[in-house]
Subunit: 351 residues, 4 copies
């Protein structure tokens, strides 16, 4: 892989699905190597004993979380439940290490709103303004300079990439947006819950969180930040659903055209022409989640059914890759000046 | 099962999934017995040789389609691709036999529209007006008197049951309806197509037919017929999706409130209080397709997220049961004066 | 359903998969009605709130386990983890109520062996000899007279029905039997365990318990009891596997022919000719688990590949029906003199 | 990826699952690039139009099969149904190009046996002796010198890697081997067949080909070639099964110990210590197919249940990778002197 030096990477909380996905991608990354991975519960255990897919690829054991140890890394990923990154961040930020947080801790700009949706006070509100929201297709320049990047949630990634072109051009009514989305079960994490048993979830489909899901404020915050400022009125009805499969998010987005929308296909193609991880499909094609499975790609289609005034955008990602760990590595690549696609060139696994 | 006589039932085209579902339900029906089942391709073959689930339950072979034979039945079901029922119907109707058509042949009231969506001229347009649209929750009285019932499509069943209460009360803007729906693969029938192979469809999710699906005109026709006549303006954006499972339809319906909608939960409960096959869930619960799998039930929930002006209705059915063969038998029960639930009391298979 | 009186049925431990399967079958049983269902954890909760598939079919709440209450029933089912039935049985047996135990508590004849495999002392060893092993195809006469029936495990049902005809005729070497079996995940119960999450188990296949599974001593006990006594030497290598589906057991059984085995197809057909729930497929056909899903049927095939001396028997059941709750009701029917198929005539759900 | 030149690769028959798997792996291979891909049916079509997962990774269209064009490649893969490679091979071999055949055409050493199992005469029997059987763990030296490599079938790969260590040490009776194996549906190819529809295969499990499967003679041929020659008596009862998932083969292998077998764990670890793509699990662990999904790894476990004389070996591979296209690339690497792991270092996709 050449003679370029590799940075040292630490992972906090490596026993979940975003943790093992980080490892899958990082063990073959040309510019990074994992030197620390922490887990309070599994400290001492060989990582490959927990995830046999890594046998032969990684010789590392989980260790106790330890800021000093992490500070010796060049980059630290948080793949933890919400609340953990907040607690460790003040101390860690002082060491100058660059931090990529996959959790929800620094996504919302408003600590009060965070408290409202997550049910606890934000423990490091002073750091929120230093966090850059890690959606490279919107914030690439800021990410390049950031010490702390807050990676978007999986649904917000798929929804924002689908709707932003319409809002940037003021083509739709921002107050009547609908995000009907569906996720594979891995989005619920590696937690022992009856609802996520194969016997409960494998032969069924359901909406959930219809009354309010934590990704709603994040989606609205992202859309409201779109320029020009008319988007500031953005309001979204967001209904997530649980798919009987492991990986994949599909968002079906509805917006009401504000007058003649012009050539939407051309708009989307232009908007994302330079983006390595956004692919606009040819007219009339529908994206399938399997065409992005295990890859960092987002694939999009745009329709105007029956030539009426409702615009439909379809957006698919792998929730664990572009929706979490892949996008985190994309952010790392940007922060360290690596090629943005480094370590992320896998072709989706099909069939 | 008592001493009441059983009617004789014929099935035209019994080799598909709606055919085997009719058989599953009819072999234990207290008032009906299957005496003829036709298939040009499989004539002579024992039905249980094609569908081993029926071994021990049915001793009958497929026979050539034959109007004389069918005329000796009391009721004839068509479980055929579109076009077949149209061709046989004029002759069959003359015999006086009651016909329940599961195909799309007599669902649309406008022969021109039928031709536009199905790509061929309607061959029995004169019979369209004699066909009653077989959605019992709307048309029970007419079904009782009908000789020919056109059973609704699977998506239209789920969508109409979900939206009708809102339109009947003029609570929403009829021109801005969205029906985001997803179906199990059995909806595509027992046809050898690459797209429906397990290796293609099992670990993926996609929208399809976004540009226009044949169930759209049927849905709009049904909604426009709702009284009072303000619903005549109904316009629906309909996006179907393919679920990686066998049975089940889930419709997520969005409508814009026209002012204060009042107590939607109460409205739905009242509307369906007397319906044996529509179940309105308690507030806050989300229906799962598995809770209706193999049963004739439709389960509904209604939400008003964030107390904003978008109403969300969730509706689930088993596409082969309430969405096809179960509803067909429900119609038969009504046409012959049987208990409406006769033969349809199965509990959904869970887990 | 006629004027015949219904017996009163109690269920102890109704929150698991065998519990809901009992309810699915019993709510439509012509001769039984569920009057008590207990759960310490869920006492007071409406059963249909836990299992929405039962909405409209059952108006009953879980109650605290209470021997007096259960004693007022005619039949009591135990759908509990091992150990529970043992503890309540002495008191319950005194009341004269008939008991059908779906758990492992009374399957093994040897209390020492039970302790060895289940890791605790048997608390009612004196009742073991009063328990009849509830495999109707072997023990129908004894079941008819029993007060306590111990229902076979799911794997043991599939394996014994497949191998018994060979052992009864002394056609194979009893010491070299192989039972390679696979089960759907519902066999692991409705327990929150990481290993049984959809994200862990849905896209994988594995053997488990290769070093020793609790169903092994039960299988060997059952086979060793086959007459004539040469079968007493039976020894089985049993390797269970976990299937990525919810319901179904498939056993692939291997035996070494002891000389000329004659017409095995005829042997199997004769052995099970009078059995309502065992179906021997035509020569050359392979049973599929889906052809028994939700039904109480066992389907069998027998092969002698390449005309060599290894006999292969294929056996499928639904682990929750013939492998648990269906067979339990079959036993109830026998114990109370009902038609053996009463309440068990469902056609398998296909597709 | 450095300055080393890349070889030119051609693929004959690239529209099936082994074709797209070759492409997935080759587009990121450091020493190879795909320059020709043929398909008579799809000539002219962009490859990424058929397989959208390749959008952005490959700019190549299918072309008509053409020996001259293929001869300009350094290596040609056949990913075709049986019969095709035989027909083109005489001409192609004369050009000196190296050929890696994924089909069954040159696996069997005996043209008569080939005809018996494949139902047609072998059209290039004179080339059979020039073909090297491409199981690197057995034939690495011969593969290095070969112009034509016949890649093993998927089942034969999993079965041989599992049984060979026992036969090499003469630890088991070679005449009583049992290979109980299960495969994902992708093994059946991308053919439109009713049996492989999601609605037919997704919620079921079955054995098939119990009377005789084409991989049986290949398995027996491979085992009989094991040295010392006592293995020449090898006889296998082979029962394949169809798993309701896309990728993965699991073989459960049974052999009768011929006396004391010693430390089997140590034997397996030593036998495969130097093999980059065979991983022997720690004692007591069971391999899962998901731990090799999308990777070229085979994972093995060995057990001696109850310390009786039956040895059980568990072996898993991804049927499309180590069982087909990955192993084909492994063979290419050996033939061209590349690092054997080049392009094959992907971590299995988990979850």
């Amino acid at each position: 892989m050449g003679s370029e030096a590799k940075i040292k990477v630490g992972i906090v909380g490596g026993t979940g699905y975003t943790g093992v996905e980080l490892l899958r991608l990082l063990v073959n990354h040309p510019r990074a190597e994992v030197s620390v991975i922490t887990s309070r519960a599994e400290a001492g255990l060989d990582v490959a004993a927990l995830f046999p897919s890594l046998r032969g690829h990684l010789a590392l054991a989980f260790s106790e979380p330890d800021t000093d140890l992490l500070a010796r890394c060049d980059a630290v990923f948080f793949a933890t439940p919400h609340g953990v990154a907040q607690a460790m961040m003040p101390q860690l930020m002082k060491t100058g290490v660059k931090v990529i947080d996959l959790s929800a801790d620094f996504r919302l700009r408003d600590a009060g709103q965070w408290q409202q949706w997550y049910g606890q006070a934000h423990s490091s509100p002073e750091l929120i303004e230093r966090a850059v929201y890690g959606l490279p297709e919107v914030n690439r320049a800021a990410i390049r300079e950031a010490q702390l990047v807050a990676c978007p949630g999986c649904y917000p990634t798929a929804v924002q990439l689908g709707l932003i072109p319409l809002l940037e051009r003021e083509l739709v009514d921002p107050t009547r947006l609908i995000a009907n989305a569906a996720s594979g079960v891995s989005g619920a994490g590696r937690q022992a819950k009856v609802d996520n048993l194969l016997a409960e979830a494998a032969d069924s489909f359901k909406a959930y969180g219809c009354g309010g899901h934590r990704h709603l404020p994040e989606i609205e915050q992202g859309l409201r930040a779109v320029q020009p400022p008319r988007a500031a009125a953005a309001q979204v009805t967001f209904v997530p659903h649980l798919l009987p499969l492991i990986r994949g998010i599909h968002a079906t987005l509805y917006a009401v055209a504000a007058g003649d929308v012009g050539d939407l296909q051309a708009l989307y193609q232009q908007r994302y022409a330079q983006e390595p991880f956004v692919d606009v499909l040819p007219p009339g094609q529908h994206p399938q989640t399997r065409t992005v499975k295990s890859s960092n790609m987002c694939r999009l289609s745009v329709f105007q059914p029956q030539q009426r005034d409702t615009v439909v955008v379809l957006s698919v990602i792998d929730n664990l890759t572009k929706g979490a760990s892949g996008q985190a590595i994309q952010n790392m690549n940007i922060m360290f000046g690596f090629a943005e696609q480094a370590g992320l060139e896998q072709v989706a696994l099909l069939p």
